[in-house]
Symmetry: C2
Subunit: 356 residues, 2 copies
DNA sequence: CTGTTAGCGCTTTCAA
DNA sequence: TTGAAAGCGCTAACAG
């Protein structure tokens, strides 16, 4: 029973400063049918007479019309949205990837909605569930998988349900689930780093691992320790200390290591740059001169951390590109579950000078 | 003409592995009306008999039902979305604010869609336009305003149109437009910093300013230089060099300053931490020992940069809280255009030791 | 308290 | 090509 439903005969009534112009408003203003307006504005190819098109465009402009995405999504049965779930957007690792995702999404005309798990694994399934409500074309999850069967099962079930209902899941993580995934070669890169470090003459190393169940952290430790062992450099369990995947985690872990068994350690490998920086802070307060008394290496090559001194030896990951790749993968047709491997590259800097 | 429209009489036909359960599916499965299903699932308060409620809930669970947000938005005439526009999510300043925004939004049960301008001012109006399509409850823009009348006018027009159509705009920036805004006290904090630095004995300072039209950068320079002048410490124009608001911008500006007029400079103030770090990198390569030969100060107190050495004197901004405040402001009723001021606090660290 | 029935804004057959 | 009309999935009067 709105005014707009009145027969055309009622004519020229005053139209109040419209709140938000609808397609009908535009159609009426242009003197064409709803269908024609739709076709000229958002429809498919050239099936509308040019003169009408122009009239509709002009009307839309005059009314400051902006198509209602929700209504389009309902009518079309598909949205223009990508859902992105990250652990912690304030962490530079995630924000760089997110940046890549958003740029790529925009190139495709997609809107991205983002949510954060605050590093709480239970939240992952919850968030996926919540995001399903938006019927996103695709759902990208970035963040390490965990060795937590219960949470993993729940998450996987939720994701599978989403895929069954027509969505596409893309993980940026370990390829532990049957979904499209951008797989970061943590093991290999960590091994390569270990190899180069041994090559530089280090023989007595320690590792600052992340949380024990975090697969990313685990893989990096494994790759590093494994290659060392292959090269005849054993790293004793006592010299692997775990901590949070954060700056403070690095600081605390370094302190623990220092207290525990530090006699002849010549190099400390922290499984990410953020932890490495925390560790550096600790060692400095402990009176060590980094790069001279002790070498240190990280992982990720975080941009904002490239100027710490001594400059940090690390493994560079193409973070932005990883995000972009995830979007491409997410948009691929078919229901393949392709895995795209991403390699890191070792960068030796001043924090690990050649041992003499 | 879908199968579901057939009269109930057709009974027990095989229902294929449903793609995505709809409310009707749930209602049918529970043996109640659409309305009852809606009420039990997403509706208002207790107006449904408990037994029915349970039946609906069970059915929904069995069918793995997830309400279609778009459809709800269309039917209700209002979405559960907040649009967030930032300059560059890979920059820690923005990602911290974004983090605060997202946490707060989630507490309110809102979804946030995010887009980045890539620091190109022309994109702002464009993005606002694009975002309007989602009919977000509120639109939060974070990023410095510019002294660019043309772009500003366009942006303001677009934002005003959005508000006229029922949305709420919240700026995290200078209160240069008539919208709700979280105003960061750049001038005052920079002045306070200058005061403390003069108190520490510095008398010959230089400034690394950001882009000339960026109001944030400008305000910080102004506040700093102004207070210095009040205290009898003049900073000559030649000693104010502008550069990008990035690490590299800081590096380049430092080099330029060094080349230009560096005779007795005892302190360099970079208008943000990221630039400060770039400048530090430059000065280090130039052979200066920071904290001894030259003092340096920044602005923002970026978390990941707290461990550079020497530790950077700076102005701490409650970034996460700023984001949270923006959401609160955005959700306030009425069409006030309230301005919430945010103060920074000076933190003196090793990079600016007392001059003796 | 429950069910019927109009919408919401837009797309898309289907005829004309 | 254009327009009428039937949906899309859901909410919200409005009767019962």
């Amino acid at each position: 029973m709105t005014d707009t439903d009145q027969p055309a005969g009622s004519g020229e009534e005053f139209i109040p400063p419209a709140h938000m112009a609808t397609l009908s408003d535009v159609a009426r203003e242009a003197g064409v049918s709803l269908a024609t307006a739709s076709r000229s504005l958002n429809g498919s190819s050239r099936t509308v007479r040019e003169e009408y098109r122009q009239r509709v465009l002009a009307a839309a402009h005059r009314l400051n019309y902006s198509a209602n995405h929700s209504a389009q999504a309902v009518a079309r049965g598909t949205s223009q949205t990508i859902a992105l779930i990250v652990s912690d957007i304030a962490d530079p690792y995630f924000s760089s990837i997110a940046s890549g995702v958003m740029r790529a999404a925009e190139d495709q005309g997609l809107v991205v909605t983002m949510s954060i798990t605050e590093r709480r694994p239970e939240r992952e399934a919850e968030l996926v569930r919540a995001m399903r409500g938006m019927r996103p074309r695709s759902l990208i999850m970035v963040g390490s998988r965990r060795n937590d069967p219960r949470a993993s099962r729940e998450l996987e079930a939720e994701l599978a349900a989403y895929e069954r209902s027509g969505g596409r899941v893309t993980m940026i993580a370990q390829p532990t689930m049957a979904f499209r995934t951008v797989a970061i070669g943590n093991v290999g890169a960590a091994a390569e780093l270990a190899g180069q470090l041994v090559g530089l003459g280090y023989r007595s190393m320690a590792v600052l691992g992340g949380p024990e169940q975090l697969l990313t952290a685990r893989d990096r430790v494994e790759g590093f320790v494994g290659r060392c062992a292959e090269l005849g450099v054993e790293i004793h369990q006592r010299r692997i200390v775990h901590g949070d995947f954060t700056r403070d985690g690095g600081f605390v872990a370094a302190a623990e290591l220092h207290r525990r068994d530090f006699a002849d350690v010549d190099l400390v490998f922290a499984v990410n740059d953020v932890m490495a920086v925390g560790a550096m802070a600790y060692f400095r307060t402990a009176g060590l001169v980094l790069g001279r008394d002790l070498a240190i290496a990280g992982f990720d090559d975080i941009e904002t951390l490239r100027d710490v001194s001594p400059a940090l030896t690390t493994v560079a990951l193409p973070l932005q590109e990883i995000g972009r790749t995830a979007v491409e993968l997410a948009l691929e047709a078919g229901n393949n579950h392709r895995v795209v491997p991403i390699e890191g590259s070792v960068i030796i800097r001043e924090s690990t000078p050649r041992r003499t």
